[in-house]
Symmetry: C2
């Protein structure tokens, strides 16, 4: 790690050198690495430890084919060629597990008659968990390609016909082809979006 | 780093040993560290590079007092004693920056007449960015305490009266008091929430 502070290479892997990939090497993804990433990601905080994220890890050609019917034309080849595409969803009944996950109180009542709060809490916290998962996959040496360019209602109909789960985003997982990356898009500066008060 | 694989200590800092803190050491937080964490977090992926997260970093007693009027009684002392509390919000006009952030196409039209898509995209992507920020703060040696136990409408009224920004969650930042941690709450296992297809 040369003169860099300890851990600098890991932060490069997680943030600085990491990119969103559209093209994939023809190299399989180990279940063990993905499951190790999940174990790390699951440790990240969610509100009231509600842990609403649910995952379908699509890799068989038949399942990929079902998923491909739901994605935009610009994302078709990305999903088709990725070794794994995770459907990152949330469980609309996540609160039923709160007596086990958050035993301080019976928190189910916060949600049972408030469908809007269920959706907002599910979307917020499954997004947090999805972000932890992206960084944890990168920590395992894997590359990611998260996507919103698809029809979530169609994915729900194809994969979650009982409407219990709601699709949040899709996440391609594999080893990216760095040779086909475009330059990184610009970011916003601290002073543009934050201030101390 | 003994016999552990390279980066293992960083992953412990980010995930394994990290906890959500409610009690804080009386130790100031450097602006430099928070801004360095922001720079890392801003590199994480968002859909169409939309980067909707906006931050108010509250630390002065007067600003803390305004914020304390909006938090639940159970979170009052956590916010009062944290050296910094970030209001993690999203900008409902984030799409106006897309010609600069996502120059491949003029993506503003995806959002201009679809307020529901603005809210969903803002909530999803500011949550992703908030999660990157939590892990990046931890990478700087800081501790976090994210919270949903507050009245977001009140925070909006107090801090964003023009309704352009919407509060997503609050994030206490400081150096946590490990001596007052309770045991970590249980997590869900891979087989409970995920499957390969």
């Amino acid at each position: 790690m040369r003169d860099e502070p300890e851990g600098s290479q890991v932060l490069a892997t997680l943030f600085r050198d990491a990119r969103t990939f559209s093209y994939w090497q023809d190299r399989p993804v180990s279940e063990t690495l993905v499951e190790a990433a999940f174990e790390l990601a699951c440790l990240g905080p969610t509100s009231g430890n509600c842990l609403p994220m649910r995952l379908v890890l699509a890799r068989s050609p038949a399942v990929k084919e079902r998923l491909l019917q739901c994605v935009s034309s610009g994302n078709y080849e990305k999903v088709r060629t990725a070794p794994v595409t995770a459907i990152v969803a949330y469980d609309r009944e996540f609160f039923e597990l709160l007596p086990r996950l958050y035993p301080h109180t019976d928190a189910r009542g916060w949600f049972t008659s408030n469908a809007a709060l269920v959706e907002e809490t599910g979307l917020r916290n499954s997004s947090l968990q999805g972000a932890y998962f992206i960084l944890a996959l990168r920590a395992q040496g894997l590359d990611c390609g998260p996507m919103s360019g698809f029809d979530a209602d169609k994915v729900d109909a194809a994969f979650f016909p009982d409407r219990r789960y709601r699709t949040n985003f899709l996440l391609n997982i594999g080893y990216g082809d760095r040779g086909r990356l475009r330059p990184r898009l610009p970011r916003l500066g601290f002073d543009e979006i934050a201030h101390w008060e």
